[in-house]
Amino acid sequence: MLAAILDQSSLFLQQLVNGITLGSIYALIAVGYTMVYGVIQLINFAHGEIYMMGAFLSFSLLSGFFGFGLPFGLAVAVSVLVCALAGILLDVVAYRPLRRAPRLAALITAIGMSIFLQNLALLIWGGQIQSFPQNAIPALLSEPALQLGDVVISWLQVVILSTAIFLMLALHLIVHYTRIGRAMRAISQDKTAASLMGVNVDRVVSYTFAIGSGLGGVAGILVGLYYNAVYPTMGYFAGIKAFAAAVLGGIGSIPGAILGGGILGLAEVFGGGYISSSYSNGIAYAVMILVILVKPTGLFGRHLRDKA
């Protein structure tokens, strides 16, 4: 009897750990969606692909796919930087020319870019699941950090959670206490007014894309390490779930994205663990639809623009 209760409680604790890890990853991706939406009201469908690129770039740099290998730290830094640049490029090439076009045009372009990038990755890296070379990753990461009876927390999980927390805090500081952050908030309030006040809108949007994409890239690397799996369609599913998280938290709100990511991660793990795993993707879709229909502003969101 006691053993059964112990089992149940360690099952619960382990699932909690799994859920929080998953949630912090979703939160990192969701922030990218929410920042871009907050500033230019665009659902950047290609954000999931940036995340996928982060994973692939670090994989390639570590495994010598491009013909040379880099040490772990450098490879991560380069991948994140390239992701940030790719985000800017995405904005400049695809979205900026459509700033004045109807919102639908930008949205469709975003979908087009997503398809394009996904298939580009397929063409470059092939479709199969790739794994990081074992010797390129610090060995410590795969060791358990803490073992309490049946509950195991690996160093990787600790790293994921602490990275997520650290980056979120940094993001908070950037958005609230720097010039660029103030400019972002100004633009999200009123673009024309901000530009009249001397804010360089294009530059701020570029920064937004860079930060969001950089975070997406970090998430990509962490996921690649956590599951030890990198493949071209990873961005699609993670992107959808992260988007659902962003919607749940209230799109445009950064704390909302964090909370939404956490809730969705836990819901998915507990749903998959206790109920059934066939519909674990469905949970994200259902949450997304229900939130949009019942409370489109999400948990923390601002009110939607008036349609008129």
Binding site: G271, I275, S276, S278, Y279, A286, L290, L293, V294, A308
Partner: protein
Amino acid sequence: MAGRKTGEILLKAHNVVKKFGGLTAVKEVSLDVRAGEIVGLIGPNGAGKTTFFNCLNAIAVPTSGEITFAGHSLVSQISPATSRLVFRSGLLFALLSLLWLPLVLGVVWPETFFRLEAVLALSILALFRIYLLRPLSLFRPWSRLLLIIFVLVDGICAVNWLWRSPEFSEVSFFNLFPFYPLLVPGSLLLLLASLVLLLLFNLPRVKEAFGQHLRADVITRLGIGRTFQNIRLFSSLSALDNVKLGRHCRTRANFFGIVLALPQARKEELDSAEKAAECLRFVGLGKQLVSRAGSLPYGDQRRLEIARALATEPKLLLLDEPAAGMNPTESAELITLVRRISQAGIAVLIIEHDMKVIMNLADRIYVLDHGELIASGTPVEVRSNAKVIEAYLGAQHAASEA
């Protein structure tokens, strides 16, 4: 100004209030328009004139007050936010009940439906239904009864499910549950009862409780046509199509009539083309039938908008700054046009900044300032009203300083 004949009261607004959050845009404005009359509504910028217009044709729903038009009450007596909430809840509720049916079928024939997902779905649905019933229960006791019934049915079905799923078959509690034989027929009975209750009580009672809220398109059909301050044409359609759209509320061809090209639908289409062309000629755009609305010159767009409103066969026409941005010649044409409309027996309520236009046209004038009605009467009376002069001078004063 007694030259024109005026009839009985067509539109009557009484103590109309419109609040946006903490801001009161319209404060207890009362106003009436008689058939065949031209009434002006003036006031400095931001006085709430357009908001008041929006209240009249349900683009905005007044926070309180009464509006009657030709014998119809346009505003319901319960706060619009509440009635919208309840209406939406009711709709979602009905949808959920539909989704719920297959789950109950699953209880009766467990091998046909779902695995353990059903328990999850069921509990989510149950929570959701309770959440949705909350606003309903604010109003009538019977909706609380509904709530209890639904919770019961959901609970019974969930228990049923848990009992039947193989994963739980070894758990003793469910095996010991003494009333199992009653569960299936009981839950079915309750479900039927709840559906009947939903149908019998929900929709008619809710409507009765909240009064009729008329949508903008219904009000247009009742006979209020309008134009907008910032022109709202369907700019990628042709001028003729824009006006034909005005005919929309006076035609009735449906999907099947159109697809099968029934004679009635074809005749109606020809009719509305003819009437639309007539309206365009009436405002002086007879030569621009096929030009794209968006590519017309500004003044023509204003007139096109009027033509579109006229095509709806209004009894009352709301004109929101029709002379804005017009040169004196165009304004003069506009004055004749409005006169002609009035002579056709259509009452006109007009917002205008151009004093020359308004003093020339209006039989009576209402003056708004900061959402409040500060004066009303004939143009001569209004012109000499101290409050009005103050409001306008103050505004001009502020404007010159800025």
